[in-house]
Amino acid sequence: MSWRRAAYLLPLIAFVALAIYLSHGLAPGYNPELLPSALIDKPAPSFDLAGLKGEARLTNRAFADEIVFVNFFASWCVPCREESPVLMDLSRRNVIVLYGVDYKDKPADAEKFLQQYGDPYRRIGVDESGRTAIDFGVYGVPETYAIDRTGRIRWRHVGPLTSDVVTKEILPLLQELGAS
């Protein structure tokens, strides 16, 4: 085939390349609304929140030399109920250290929620104004962040945690961060 004839195939080749590229948008599970966190590998924002149920205040200084997970939840958040069994399982088996931030919620409602679905958290801070959530770049509960021993955010998940996320993301992350 001459070069000139081959040139007529160029549009076809360009079309196939474009089609392959665009087909990624149709892949199952692809969600264009998911945003990457701007805080990955940056130090976690500092915060100081009142504790739920009169517990001690939750501040980022509590996360000393430990890999911790911070889960933003609320009693009014339906997907939070969905992820609750996964969180309960992780904390019962001591797989992760989990702190909770109760987002824009009434403390009484949150307590009821925890009685009903279980309390997987080591401690819970109350973020009634939602400012701490904004500092983390939260745009909808539930969201979960992993903070490494040096206090940097290493991972973020938007939406409910599933056992799939645990095996595909959390366990490899713990291995990478060298959990003991």
């Binding site: 609304e33 701007a38 939602g130 745009y139």
Partner: protein, 152 residues
């Protein structure tokens, strides 16, 4: 018909003016409020992603509007207030994407495609250029005349 059109125009006008900013959020100082509104129109609401935070009724958009007004009141410049939001939510929230390596394709691909098209057109036109006309020889001219006569 005219009345229907007028009604439609009025309804569209109302829909367009329907900003979500609540009176209680607005600053007393009109200069600061104008700056806050201008900033809000440049920022994407991350909950309903095709609206600005100035238009959106989402709770988070409300919080961000209040936050920006607080930053401006405490003496932030426009750029500082915007940076406060992009530091937390990333440059995705800017409705006009900045020119940075991740957006080079977005900004420059139209020019690249134009260049490719122009090059293609140039090569095509250059090849199509007709050879210079040679005058017809005697035989050709006779044949032409005969053909023209046949037509009549």
């Amino acid at each position: 018909m005219t009345r229907a059109l007028a009604a439609a125009a009025i309804l569209l006008g109302i829909a367009h003016a329907a900003f979500a900013v609540e009176p209680s959020e607005m600053l007393a100082n009109p200069t600061l409020e104008a700056r806050a509104e201008a900033i809000g129109k440049q920022l994407r609401c991350v909950v309903c992603q095709n609206e600005t935070i100035e238009e959106s009724g989402a709770d988070l958009a409300h919080d961000l509007r209040v936050l920006i007004r607080e930053r401006l009141t405490s003496g932030d410049t426009d750029a500082q207030a915007i940076k406060y939001v992009t530091d937390r939510y990333g440059t995705f929230v800017l409705l006009k994407p900045p020119v940075e390596p991740a957006t080079y394709l977005l900004w420059f691909s139209p020019f690249a495609i134009l260049a490719v098209g122009a090059a293609g057109a140039w090569f095509y036109l250059r090849r199509r250029k007709a050879p210079p006309d040679e005058p017809l020889d005697l035989n050709q001219r006779r044949r032409l005349e005969r053909l023209l006569l046949d037509d009549q």
